[in-house]
Amino acid sequence: MTKWPSSRRLRGAKVEIKLDIKVVIQAAPFAMAYGYDDALAGRSDIGAVVSFTGLVRDFNETPDVTGLTLEHYPGMTESTLIDIGEQAWQRWSLQAVRIIHRVGYLAPGDPIVRVLVASAHRREAFEACDFIMDFLKTRAPFWKKEHSTQGEYWVKERHSDQKDAARWN
């Protein structure tokens, strides 16, 4: 498991602020509370934590999905997610961002992705988490192949995901 902390600093800022963004891609399952303790350790300036967890459904393009295999493009995946975290950091006032995404074989009910955002106030944390998921779904190089009782097929992109991401333009 490789952690990808973002060590870049915001350009043009008068005070250098270290971005607390971490990205993990792994085949192993992750805990439902992933990122919480790590993001909050030793801090008392955080007033809101919003997290999203995405799970494998047993119905999608066909009704009987038995599992899926997730592929990604190592290297580009991590840098894309760090970049999305940094964009969120510039739009909202955030204190921590954690993104974890699984790859490989997953069964229905398995968590695939978790995004956690910590901020001083709830509105920023809600919006940033929503933004990160919209951009992750439309920009990060992951591909799902669904296995169903009717066979296996590559999942098609959804127009609604593109529309969701366009809301932030």
Binding site: A27, P29, E157
Partner: protein
């Protein structure tokens, strides 16, 4: 560490699981059968004499998982709540990857069931295809992961393809062997890899009509009509792992990846 299936006298012994807590157990195993590319073509097109090979092998794997206790002497008979057997046809390596998942709420693990499902699915694939190919080889049958039980979870660390597309180490653009004439290294990812039937190609810069992505696409299409899928406007492209469009310039030793729209999350 000791072997639980041996008693104090070293004799084979079935483990008493009556006092163990019932927990949710799950195991995933995988393996593959390598065959001639022609055999794989017949298999995917359904032209083999014995008919729908994958559907039959799937049923065989599921049935085998349920009867593991009849085959492996010290295995308990289990009421599995789920068995799934999946196949991935890998044209690049000319093999079929088999993955099995077994699950139950019970007192004993289900890895033997998952391994048996993979083994018998592979054997059935062999049986269904042996009329045209006797050189097939069943290999790499292994436990990938298991969850639940007192010994805790297990995850194989070197789980290989198809999880990862391309062979780049995380965070690095892979630097393969240097090619003497200026070239670009091309990768085809996910569905696109399956459609063109290979994962990588090398194209000399001199073969490009223009030294940009559209020039690279034309050179590949000229090489083989299979690559015409690259000109589909849904096909995306990255140069050195940064998104690029048709006008983006390519230079010596660039890594160019083509892939379909992303579907993660």
């Amino acid at each position: 560490m000791h072997l639980t299936h041996l008693n104090a006298l070293g004799e084979a012994n079935m483990v008493d699981v009556g006092d163990k807590q019932e927990t949710r157990r799950e195991a995933v195993a995988s393996g593959r059968i390598v065959m001639q590319p022609e055999t794989l073509k017949l298999l995917t097109s359904g032209e083999l004499p014995k008919g729908d090979v994958l559907a039959t092998a799937r049923i065989a794997g599921i049935q085998a998982a349920k009867r593991t206790h009849e085959l492996i002497p010290l295995c308990h008979s289990l009421a599995l709540s789920k068995v799934s057997v999946e196949f991935e046809v890998n044209l690049a390596d000319s093999c079929v990857n088999v993955t099995a998942l077994c699950r139950l709420n019970g007192r004993t693990g289900v890895e033997m069931e998952a391994l048996t499902a993979v083994s018998v699915a592979c054997l059935t694939l062999y049986d269904m295809c042996k009329a045209v190919d006797k050189n097939m080889c069943i290999e790499a049958i292994q436990l990938d992961s298991k969850q639940g039980g007192q010994r805790g979870d297990y995850q194989r660390t070197n789980v290989q393809t198809p999880i990862v597309t391309g062979d780049g180490v995380s965070g690095e653009v892979s630097v393969g062997e240097r090619f003497s004439p200026p070239c670009v290294r091309v990768k085809f990812l996910a569905e696109l890899r399956e459609r063109v039937g290979e994962s990588e190609a090398v194209v000399e810069l001199d073969d490009l009509t223009s030294r940009d992505i559209s020039g690279l696409k034309s050179a590949l299409v000229q090489r083989d009509v299979r690559f015409s899928v690259l000109t589909d406007q849904r096909t995306l492209c990255a140069i050195n792992q940064v998104m690029a469009n048709d006008d983006a310039l390519v230079t010596d030793d660039d890594e160019v990846a083509f892939f379909p729209p992303v579907t993660g999350g």
